[in-house]
């Protein structure tokens, strides 16, 4: 299933890119002759029939080679790894921060849902989730960088992580930006999951059996509530990754998002394919891990997995 989805993504991407653009035009300038254009196409290999190009590319992929950039001939795989130096920490830090914001806020908003501050919490999180991430970024830069000069307005140290302090400092504002938006989304899920649990019979039963509210919530509530949250968290992690890709442009960060956008602009097919395939694989793998985790936590899901047979047998 996973492989099929991946193969489909590879094929669609390959065809769409080649139908929509011609990488030669990103390299030549006004004054180039037809012969020069043809020679450049031949050098890139885009003058060959599309199926030939496709099979060559599949062959490359099977040997775990993402190919070379059309424009500067760098190895696409190496370049992705270099860019992950920025995008991976950005994604993980944003995700962690968004969970740290969302869980207490969402829980609090549900627990106190009948009070005015509970309502305010959920209203604010609605608002936070409704604003586009780049807009939050622009606002934060205007206030915190240009106004108060607390954070750099963008950029990443040229020395990468040699100076972790400097690297973290340059990621601070983008992380906050993504966390605000992603955290607002997540808070709404946490709130509704908590509301669900709080209204459950088993919680009342546990309380009636003499457990304190906290114990009942921890023993029964959390374990029940966390199952749907895991798949939401997996989706959220993917969303954060996409958010990182967008926000890199606002903050001039040399990550995967920048590689993708520049690749599209320069019609650098191998780079665009590389980044998108990597992202696709990442999303698919995250979904898979979430599935597995859910089954470990919730025995009922394990049953339903092998269970089709059993249910049938019973019927």
């Amino acid at each position: 299933m996973l492989l099929l989805a991946f193969a489909l993504a590879v094929t669609i991407l390959f065809v769409v890119l080649r139908v929509l653009g011609n990488p030669v035009f990103a390299l030549i300038s006004v004054g180039a002759t037809d012969a020069e254009i043809a020679a450049a196409a031949a050098r890139l290999g885009v003058d060959r029939p599309i199926h030939e190009q496709f099979f060559a590319y599949i062959g490359q992929l099977l040997s775990f080679d993402l190919g070379q950039s059309f424009t500067n001939h760098l190895n696409v795989g190496d370049e992705i790894v270099r860019r992950l130096n920025v995008t991976l920490p950005l994604t993980l830090l944003s995700f962690t921060l968004s969970v740290l914001i969302a869980v207490p806020v969402g829980f609090f908003a549900a627990w106190k849902s009948r009070t005015w501050y509970g309502t305010t919490f959920s209203a604010v999180s609605q608002l936070g989730g409704a604003i586009p991430v780049f807009w939050v970024g622009i606002l934060l830069v205007a206030v915190l960088s240009l106004g108060w000069r607390l954070f750099p307005a963008g950029g990443f140290p040229r020395t990468d992580w040699e100076d972790p302090g400097a690297a973290l400092y340059s990621l601070a504002l983008p992380v906050i930006t993504i966390a605000i938006v992603a955290g607002s989304d997540l808070a709404r899920y946490v709130r509704s999951a908590t509301l669900d649990i709080l209204g459950q019979q088993y919680l009342r039963a546990a309380r009636a059996a003499g457990q304190s509210f906290a114990t009942a919530l921890w023993r029964h509530g959390v374990r029940n509530g966390v199952v749907p949250l895991i798949s939401i968290l997996a989706i959220q992690l993917s969303t954060t990754f996409v958010g990182a890709v967008i926000i890199e442009r606002v903050f001039a960060l040399p990550g995967l998002g920048d590689m993708l956008l520049v690749g599209i602009k320069e019609q650098d097919f191998p780079s665009v394919q590389g980044v998108l395939l990597f992202s696709t694989a990442l999303v698919l793998v995250l979904g898979f891990i979430a599935d597995v985790l859910q089954r470990i936590i919730d025995p009922r899901l394990r049953d339903s997995l092998s269970g089709n047979r059993r249910t049938k047998a019973l019927a």
Binding site: S29, V30, E36, L74, A153
Partner: protein, 503 residues
């Protein structure tokens, strides 16, 4: 004797172009006095939106590669100064045969960053590479006149041309001399310039360090970093917060007031970028000179320039900007005169107007310009349909297939009036006189003769309204307080960084 003749030639061309610049009143923005002491070890951070696609000029590195490397990391046999003069650089001495076909260069005592000394072999390799089959360099066609390159001895190289080419040394000013041992140069560099490539981070930055063994004068700063920004707002923010010291090209005049108020220097020079409304001159009604002239006169270009560049930049009336020797002031040759436009249209049989489509690239200011043209031409009864296309589609549909009625394009190259001498060029302007003048100008034996011939072509294309030359872009750079030595003009994206200092 031949050498003296050559020097005269250089001097003459220098004088002519310098004069042209003066005539143009080449508005230099700020010539700031060095405030405080400049720090010779300071690293200058240059912000730019023009990231090269790769680091080699012959593989379509784009204008971004010129901005970083030409004159800074790589040197040519000649140098084009910021005022468009030609000076000897790696060619310490030049002798030209009497028939103008053989150029013999004696090389300067330079060496590459890798330590390899500069030899005649390197020059031969570099020139042959530039015009070779693999090359898609922007200036390749002008240098195809090279017939052979022969190594005379270690420090002497002779270049034989197929026919005399008066712009030969000028064109050589753009050709890098690279180490023949260097191999692929799309991600590395090995030149003879005052800086060596220290670091290349695609999507982020290019770092140049001072070449301690440079054969010429040491640079005034301690290294230069080009920091790239895809987003113009991010670039402006970087300048405002001091993350970069200067910006090579400001494409949006809206933010200038903000920078000026904050104490930044606005440096205005002249560029070679011309905004064109190019017709497909092969097709009716644009095959009729009267129609083209009518449309030219229907457009209030002064108002357009005001709207786009806030009054900066210049009005031009042909393809030639004031920085070129054969410039003529033709800005009013096709004057703004709607009544004249209507009269010309009526004479051409289009009293009721007509409808045409402008293929408009979605980059830069073209779509704003297109909207303006649409409203201007509507006033004389001509209806414009705007068809927005990508740069890619432009190269396919307009440039290669020539399947268009009219288009907008910013033509960035210097001396590109030559395109009007090629009837197969995308706009299809076909005038035998212009073709022969331009061809003869290249074979001219003196600069005066060359200038005279190109000026004739210049006058003719303007009289014919071969295209509508809307305006010449200004070259706007913004620098922080205390930054000095920033080159003013943007002639073909050249940007020498060795004089830049900051306090």
């Amino acid at each position: 004797m031949t050498s003296r003749r050559f020097n005269r030639l250089l001097a003459a061309s220098a004088a002519v172009s310098a004069g042209a610049l003066l005539l143009a009143g080449c508005a230099s923005g700020a010539a700031p006095a060095a405030s405080g002491d400049a720090d010779a070890s300071a690293e200058i951070v240059v912000g730019s939106q023009n990231e090269p696609t790769n680091l080699d000029q012959i593989f379509g590195g784009s204008s971004g590669v010129t901005e970083v490397f030409t004159g800074n990391v790589y040197e040519g046999l000649f140098r084009i100064t910021d005022d468009a003069e030609v000076e000897p650089l790696l060619a310490a001495e030049t002798e030209v045969s009497d028939d103008g076909l053989v150029y013999t260069f004696t090389l300067a005592d330079a060496s590459f960053h890798s330590g390899d000394p500069l030899t005649a072999e390197d020059v031969k390799y570099s020139l042959e590479r530039f015009v070779g089959d693999e090359s898609i360099a922007a200036r390749k066609n002008q240098l195809k006149v090279i017939q052979s390159v022969d190594v005379v001895d270690d420090k002497t190289v002779a270049v034989t041309l197929a026919q005399p080419s008066i712009s030969f040394t000028y064109n050589l000013g753009y050709v890098w001399i690279v180490n023949d041992e260097a191999g692929e140069l799309t991600t590395t560099a090995d030149g003879t310039g005052p800086y060596a490539l220290a670091d290349y981070r695609k999507g982020d930055s290019i770092t140049l360090e001072v070449n301690e063994d440079y054969w010429g004068d040491a640079p005034a700063n301690g290294g230069v970093v080009y920091q790239y920004y895809a987003d113009p707002t991010a670039l402006n923010n970087a300048l405002l917060t001091g993350a970069v010291d200067l910006v090579t090209s400001q494409s949006n005049p809206d933010s200038l007031a903000e920078f000026e108020a904050a104490g930044f220097q606005i440096i205005e020079g002249t560029s070679t970028t011309k905004e064109l409304l190019a017709f497909n001159d092969r097709l009716a009604p644009f095959d009729d000179v009267a129609v083209r002239k009518a449309l030219y006169s229907a457009i209030d270009r002064e108002k357009l320039l005001d709207a786009i560049w806030d009054g900066r930049g210049e009005l031009i009336g042909s393809m030639v900007p004031p920085s070129e020797p054969w410039y003529l002031d033709l800005a009013d040759n096709n004057p703004y005169d709607p009544a004249l436009a209507e009269q010309l249209l009526a004479e051409a049989g289009y009293a009721d107007g007509f409808t045409f489509t402008i293929d408009t690239p979605d980059s830069g200011v073209h779509s704003t310009v297109a909207e303006f043209l649409k409203s201007e031409l509507a006033k004389v009864g001509v209806t414009v349909d705007i068809n927005i296309i990508t740069d890619d589609e432009w190269y396919q549909k307009v440039y290669t297939d020539k399947n268009f009625q009219a288009t907008l394009q910013g033509h960035v190259n210097d001396r590109d009036i030559n395109f009007y001498g090629n009837p197969d060029f995308y706009w299809g302007y076909d005038n035998a006189d212009v073709q022969s003048w331009l061809a003869a100008s290249e074979a001219a034996s003196t600069v005066e003769e060359q200038t005279e011939l190109i000026a004739k072509a210049n006058q003719q294309i303007s009289d014919d309204a071969a295209s509508v030359w809307l305006y010449l872009n200004p070259q706007l750079r913004i620098a922080a307080e205390g930054v000095t030595g920033v080159p003013e003009n943007g002639l073909n994206s050249l940007f020498y960084v060795y004089d830049i200092t900051k306090a």
